[in-house]
Structures are given as structure tokens and as C-alpha cells.
């Protein structure tokens, strides 16, 4: 966006405007997501427990209950314990929230047309996006520890120490699980990993081979643990630690912790969707069938992207709902059992899956478990980034020739081979559409 705007104005202004727009979009996504998920949590837990959940505020389904509670929290007194470390106590919730929010900077929300020179829908394209998101999400624990330390309450301290031990241990298997799709896609670029899974759902990395399938479930476990959800919600175990690290918080500061929790829940499930569950691609390539691709112009392409965005968010909401469902079903583990689960089960399994996926890639390069699909060749143009891909496509179409693909192995509708048999960048990226986009 910034690049596009800088055609019309000074580049610093273009970047500022772009940054503001992105911040507003991401903030509204996180805040709106938190509103939705808190409502969803109440509704799902209510239904699980033979209750109705909220029914009054905002019509029959209590849509606005969370908003009403938010208003109530705004009016609450901002209490601080007497012995608290005042600055850190004030700072902690913002650190947690900022970390949870910052992860969204590198998460792409729609892609697919990246190969046409237009950027995916991402606030800031980071070519090591996976790494960035994991690193920033890991920072959230910092706010928790500060909150526990500065509260001058023993229960808070216990909660913070538990969270520190837990999150730090779970980063290890989490990182290993994330490396599995990175290994298969051959890139740490989230939008590239997402585009790699275009086509039928058999192209999704979870179905790539048995190892990615198991790695997904390990990732789900570790992600649940790293965002402190049941059965790993030890840091705020109300039957043991009152409310854990946020015991002493009230009002808006408390709600920032809450928002951070729901923000991280959404971001880990977004990450799961992008890495394993086909990102913005639906189970069937409906957008391609409808002709919502770049070949049909910018409007069609953006409509296709919008469809992708809806796809991505729907899958992420399902992921969050699973976490909610688990929370209201299972009892809580004990701290030593949580660490045991991590060190004795998750880490070795994740390491084994990493090794297995490596061997699979070595033995059957670019073959998936179902054997039905091949990687869309055009995705490999992205290795060099959008700019180079466009330049290359203009200068030397012959250098981009793809391999021959047998006709019976083609299930991907937008596979370039369907249209010509031979793949070339100039075929995939029509010059006129690039010109229009610029």
C-alpha cells in the first residue's frame, strides 16, 4: 500500500498513512475478535453447561454483552496494591497487549495474487514471518511476569512463575512443529507458505504427509499451552491461585490482559491455519472456479482475496472455538504434569515429526501423501520476492519454465499446466494486469 501511495505523494507521508491504516485495521480485528470470542466463550460454555448464556444485551443472542461489560470495566476504580512496584504494575498489561497485537503485523490475511506483483494483505510483509510471529508472541509472557512480580501479592508471583516455566518450555516443541511446514514450503514467508497450499484441500500442509498431520496436533497442544488455555491454564488457576498473575488488577488494566489472551488465541489459530490448514484457500478452489483471479482484473482479484480473508478468519474462529470447547470440558493439569507433557511427550514427538518430514522431503520431493496434487509451479517464482518475480517475468520468460506434469496428477484448477502444459512466468502473470496494478 505504501509503495502504491508513494506514486502520488511524498514517501514519508505514504508510509505514515499506510501505517495508520494498518494499525486501525489490526486493532479493530483484535478488539472485534476479543468481543466476538468473549461472547462466543460465554455462549458456547452456556450451551455446554445447559444454560443459555447471555440473552439480554443486544437482542436475543446477547451480542453486546461483552461491550456492556467493557463499559463497566471502564468505569471501575483503578486499584493498585500498596506495596506494588507502581511503574511496572502499570506497564505490564500494555506489554502483554502490545506483544499480542504486534504478532498481527506479519500475519497475512489473504494472498494468492502475490505472484502478480501485488502484495498479499499483510500489514508489513516480513520474509521471515513465521519467526517474527513466534518471537513476538513469546514476548507476551514478559508482561505476565512483570505483573506477577510487581503486584506484591504472593498468589500473583506464583502465577507468573508458573507461566514463565510453562511458556518457556512450550516454545521449544511449538517452534519445532512450526518448522515442519516451513521445511516443506522451503520458506519462512507466511504468505508463501499460504500460497503453497492453493487448490484442493489435499494440498493443505496438514495432509502433506503423516508427519505434518501429527505435527499439527502437537502444534495445537503446544499453542493451547503457550496461550494459557485449559487444560494448561495454570497461571490463572482460580481454584489454586485465586486469579494468578492478574489477581490484583481491576478495571481497564485487567481487561487488557483479557484482550491479550484472546488476541493470542486468535493469532495462534491464525498461524495454525496458515501453516497447516490451507491458509486463505478453502477446501475447494471456489474462487478460481468463479473466476475471481488476477487474470480477470483487479476487482475480481480483490474479491477473491476477500473470499480468502473470510476463509482464513472462519477457520481461525473454528480453531478458537475448539480451544473454548476444550476449556469447558477438561480439568486442569498440575504444573509438574504440564512440564512433563511438554518435555517427555511434545518435544520428542515434535522432533520426530521434524525428522520424518525431512526424510519425506528428501525421499519424495514435492509429493504429498495423497499423491493427487502437485505444488502450483508459479509459487516458486516467489522465492525471489514480488519485485524480482515481476521483473523476471518481463525479461526472460524461457528461464521460468516449469517441469512437465502428467495430466492425471493435476487436480489444481488454477494449475498453469492446465492451460498450456508448459509453465512460464509470462503465462501466469499477464503483463497488462501488472500494468493495471501499478
Amino acid at each position: 500500500m505504501a509503495l502504491y501511495l508513494s506514486n502520488f505523494m511524498w514517501s514519508w507521508l505514504a508510509y505514515t498513512i499506510a501505517a495508520l491504516v494498518h494499525v486501525v485495521l489490526i486493532l479493530s480485528l483484535v478488539a472485534g475478535g476479543a468481543l466476538l470470542f468473549i461472547w462466543l466463550e460465554r455462549k458456547i460454555s452456556g450451551r455446554i453447561q445447559d444454560r443459555l448464556g447471555p440473552t439480554r444485551v443486544g437482542g436475543k443472542f446477547g451480542w453486546l454483552q461483552t461491550l456492556a461489560d467493557g463499559l463497566k470495566l471502564l468505569t471501575k476504580e483503578d486499584l493498585m496494591p500498596e506495596g506494588a512496584d507502581r511503574m511496572l504494575f502499570r506497564l505490564a498489561p500494555y506489554i502483554s497487549f502490545a506483544a499480542s497485537l504486534a504478532a498481527y503485523i506479519a500475519i497475512p490475511f489473504a494472498g494468492g495474487a502475490y505472484l502478480l506483483g501485488a502484495a498479499p494483505w499483510v500489514a508489513q510483509h516480513v520474509n521471515v514471518g513465521v519467526f517474527f510471529v513466534l518471537a513476538v508472541l513469546g514476548l507476551e509472557v514478559f508482561g505476565t511476569i512483570l505483573a506477577g512480580y510487581s503486584s506484591a501479592s504472593k498468589w500473583s508471583l506464583f502465577g507468573a512463575m508458573r507461566e514463565a516455566a510453562q511458556v518457556v518450555s512450550y516454545e521449544v516443541p511449538l517452534g519445532m512443529c512450526v518448522v515442519v511446514p516451513v521445511l516443506i514450503a522451503g520458506s519462512m514467508d507466511l504468505s508463501l507458505i499460504g500460497d503453497r497450499q492453493a487448490g484442493l484441500f489435499t494440498n493443505w500442509l496438514i495432509f502433506h504427509d503423516p508427519f505434518t498431520f501429527i505435527a499439527f496436533w502437537v502444534y495445537l497442544t503446544c499453542a493451547t499451552a503457550s496461550v494459557n488455555r485449559a487444560p494448561f491454564d495454570l497461571a490463572e488457576a482460580e481454584s489454586e491461585l485465586v486469579a494468578g498473575f492478574h489477581t490484583e488488577y481491576s478495571g481497564l488494566r485487567w481487561s487488557f490482559f483479557f484482550m491479550a489472551e484472546y488476541g493470542s488465541m486468535l493469532s495462534v489459530s491464525l498461524l495454525a491455519v496458515i501453516l497447516f490448514l490451507g491458509a486463505w484457500h478453502g477446501p475447494l478452489p471456489i474462487a478460481t472456479w468463479l473466476g475471481l483471479t488476477a487474470e480477470h482484473g483487479a476487482i475480481a482479484m480483490n474479491l477473491g482475496k476477500l473470499l480468502g480473508l473470510i476463509n482464513l478468519l472462519l477457520k481461525a474462529v473454528v480453531g478458537v472455538s475448539v480451544m473454548i470447547w476444550v476449556r469447558w470440558t477438561l480439568p486442569r493439569l498440575r504444573i509438574d504434569q504440564v512440564i512433563t507433557t511438554c518435555l517427555k511427550y511434545c518435544t520428542p514427538i515434535a522432533a520426530g515429526m521434524l525428522l520424518g518430514a525431512t526424510l519425506w522431503q528428501y525421499q519424495f520431493p514435492s509429493r504429498s501423501f495423497f499423491g493427487l496434487t502437485e505444488v502450483p509451479q508459479a509459487v516458486y517464482h516467489l522465492r525471489e520476492g514480488p519485485q524480482q518475480a515481476v521483473q523476471n517475468s518481463g525479461s526472460s520468460p524461457e528461464s521460468r519454465e516449469g517441469t512437465d506434469v502428467p495430466e492425471d496428477e493435476i487436480a489444481t484448477v488454477n494449475h498453469p499446466a492446465r492451460r498450456g502444459g508448459q509453465v512460464s512466468a509470462s503465462d501466469t502473470i499477464p503483463q497488462e494486469s501488472i500494468a493495471r496494478l501499478r
Binding site: I48, Q49, A237, E240, V242, W328, L330, L333
Partner: protein, 401 residues
């Protein structure tokens, strides 16, 4: 901040962590009311637990010395408020023992039905709150859903939902309304599949077993030494139930009823083939067994109620007239223990010949059951404390009185 250490090796082995003294309660979510536990912890490991009580003291016994026995019935309601019917029964029986009064046949079966319903309601709460202690919320509401149905039945009988004052000296305040027995049977029929749900959600849940099996193990000798009773005692494998082993005036109530005491004998619970098997992690006397005994007692109580309904329908005499308020008590004293849901609830009464007892005294089972926490929690983790205290299932109203 400089420390002088001559030998550097001392430093290595002399790094100590500070012990922390923490109050768990009286306003803590998992201490079941107003129990206060003073914990001495080293990190997550608890080295000492001291229960502190007295936050719910209402001088019930002193009040009992100023009221006639029937007037004190509402005060017994407020002792174990989760099993108020059984408290009423204990006090009514001890006065009847003092007066050498025997309730009519129909009243006897009526009391069995009501007392066993009360036991089910109490065990359902124990089960639900135990789930809550272990961090799962839903079974709690499932348990309360069923308990509500029992409260509806009680409400129809006596008009109250928590403090009934229904069973009283001489009989009960009113007979069952017409159609009540059918409703009661319908309730029991629909409870059977629900119990299996509880077993699926808690008893056989892998995390639940991890959290409870081999936690807070209490040997039978220890349980007897500390004066534990009820499911806590039977969870350690001691075959003792006052409904079978109690005094005649109490066991006469259960005369002719077929039931087995729920306690493990030779590695088996009675009729255990119908229930989920004991997991291999569980050891006799741990939190899991105490929970399991309660679950089996619910099924046993359902069986007793069915028998009671049959016998009640056949009986022809009345349900017993409540004692007159001005009735003078015979001179003397009486003590009787009954099998309340939480254990042996004893009432003691001394009379000098007036209508008002000279001394009224209650012996609470939760008091003895609670006192073993200091022993059980030594060396456990903080997360095990709710697991242990919850499995003892204490009610502070009964301890403080």
C-alpha cells in the same frame, strides 16, 4: 549486598530459597466457604498446612440451650447446609431416643426416602465442587442441575429449598403430597444415565485420574486414628457405615433394607462390575477413591429410595405427629450418631426435666475429616491442596456451628 564466604564450596550447597507463608482463604475460591489454610511453601512445594477455623461460628449449641428441641431444628439445618435433612434427622432421633419414642412404620420409610435423597443431593454437590477444584466447570453445573430436581421435590414436600426443618421430633411436619412418589421415581429413572455421564467426565477422565490418583493417600489406620468417618473413612477401605453398624434406634430405620457398605474389600467394591474399573494408578485411600466411594453411594442411595418407596406404599399407619412444643423432656442424657453424607454426625442432649434441654451438643464429622489435611498435604504441591481438601468434602457450617 556482599557476603563473605571463606570456602566457595559452601556457597554452592548453601543456596537456599526462602519459605513463604501464604494464607489460602478464608476468601479463596477453593476452600469451600470460609476455611482458612495457612501454607508454608518452598516454591510450589508445601511443607506445612494448618487449617484455621471459626469464621462461621454462630453459637448454635448455646442457642440450643435456650430453645425447645423442635425450635432448634432450624439451627441444625444451618450446620451442614448441603444436607439439612440429614441434620434434622440426627437431632430428631436423639430426642426420640431420650424420650424412648418410636416413630410409626410409614414415618420410618418416609425418613429413609428423604434422608437418602438428601445424601444424593449432598454427594452431587461434593462431586461438582470437586470438579471445580480441579479446574473443570461444566460437571459442577451438571451436578447442580440434578440437585435442583431434588430441591424441587423437597420444596413440594416442605416448602423450602435449602433449610427444610422437615424431619422433626416425633415424625415429619407433613406427609408426602399426592403424586410425589411418582415424581421421585421418575427422577431416579432419569438420574441413572446421568451418573454415567459424570463417570465419563470425571471418574474415568485421564486428567482427573492424573490429578487425584495417589494424591493424599490415607491408610486405614490413619483414617481411624484421626476419627475420620463417612466416605473419607470408607475411601480408605474401612468397612464401617452407621446405617448398618450404628445404634439400634438408628439402624432400626433401615431394618429390612438390602444394602452393602460401599468400601473396598479384597480389591473390589460391592457390585463393582457395573461401575468403571479402578484405574491402576489409584491407591486405596487416595483422593480418587474418596470421590469414587461418593459416586457409588449415590447409586446405592437410589436403590435404597426405591426400596423405601415400595415399603412406604405398603405401610398403612401415619407418618408420626410432631412433638408438642411444651412437651417436657425426661430427665437424663442421650447421644446418637447418624450416618450423614459427610460422616458420623453426633448429637448429644442433656435434660434436667424441662422442655428446654440443659445442654445441646453437636459432633461434626467434617471437623475430624478436616484435621487430617495437615498430615495429608505435607510435601504436596500447591495444586494438590484443592485436590485433597475437596476430596475430604468439608462444610464449614458444620465445623463451626
Amino acid at each position: 549486598m556482599s557476603t563473605l564466604v571463606d570456602d566457595p564450596r559452601i556457597m554452592e550447597f548453601d543456596v537456599r530459597t526462602d519459605e513463604m507463608l501464604i494464607n489460602m482463604g478464608p476468601q479463596h475460591p477453593s476452600t469451600h466457604g470460609v476455611l482458612r489454610l495457612v501454607l508454608r511453601t518452598d516454591g510450589e512445594v508445601v511443607s506445612e498446612v494448618t487449617p484455621q477455623i471459626g469464621y462461621l461460628h454462630r453459637s448454635a449449641e448455646k442457642i440450643g440451650e435456650n430453645l425447645v428441641p423442635r425450635q432448634w431444628i432450624p439451627y441444625t439445618d444451618r450446620m451442614d447446609y448441603l444436607a439439612a435433612m440429614n441434620m434434622n434427622l440426627g437431632w430428631a432421633l436423639v430426642i426420640e431416643k431420650l424420650m424412648r419414642y418410636e416413630p410409626p412404620e410409614k414415618g420410618r420409610h418416609l425418613r429413609v426416602i428423604i434422608a437418602e435423597l438428601g445424601r444424593i443431593a449432598s454427594h452431587l454437590v461434593a462431586m461438582g465442587t470437586y470438579g471445580l477444584d480441579l479446574g473443570t466447570f461444566s460437571p459442577f453445573l451438571y451436578a447442580f442441575r440434578e440437585r435442583e430436581k431434588i430441591l424441587d421435590l423437597f420444596e413440594e414436600v416442605c416448602g423450602a429449598r435449602l433449610t427444610y426443618s422437615y424431619i422433626t421430633v416425633g415424625g415429619v411436619t407433613a406427609d408426602f403430597p399426592s403424586g410425589w412418589l411418582q415424581k421421585c421415581e421418575a427422577f431416579l429413572d432419569q438420574l441413572v444415565p446421568v451418573i454415567d455421564e459424570y463417570h465419563a467426565l470425571l471418574t474415568t477422565n485421564a486428567i482427573f485420574i492424573k490429578r487425584t490418583a495417589s494424591i493424599g493417600t490415607m491408610s486405614p489406620e490413619m483414617a481411624i486414628d484421626y476419627g475420620c468417618s463417612g466416605p473419607v473413612l470408607r475411601g480408605s477401605g474401612v468397612d464401617h457405615d452407621l446405617r448398618r453398624d450404628g445404634e439400634d434406634i438408628y439402624t432400626a430405620m433401615y431394618d429390612g433394607y438390602a444394602f452393602e457398605v460401599v468400601a473396598e474389600k479384597d480389591g473390589h467394591y460391592p457390585r463393582d462390575h457395573q461401575y468403571p474399573a479402578v484405574p491402576h494408578e489409584a491407591r486405596l485411600g487416595d483422593s480418587w477413591h474418596r470421590f469414587y466411594v461418593r459416586m457409588l453411594e449415590v447409586i446405592q442411595s437410589m436403590d435404597l429410595i426405591r426400596q423405601g418407596i415400595d415399603r412406604y406404599s405398603l405401610a398403612t399407619d401415619g407418618h408420626g405427629e410432631p412433638m408438642k412444643l411444651t412437651q417436657k423432656l425426661p430427665k437424663g442424657e442421650a447421644y446418637l450418631e447418624t450416618e450423614a453424607p459427610r460422616g458420623q454426625m453426633g448429637f448429644y442432649v442433656v435434660s434436667d426435666g424441662n422442655a428446654i434441654p440443659w445442654r445441646a451438643r453437636a459432633r461434626s464429622s467434617s471437623f475430624s475429616n478436616l484435621w487430617i489435611t495437615g498430615q495429608l498435604c505435607r510435601g504436596c504441591l500447591i495444586a494438590d491442596i484443592p485436590s485433597i481438601v475437596g476430596s475430604l468434602d468439608v462444610v464449614m457450617g458444620e465445623i463451626d456451628r
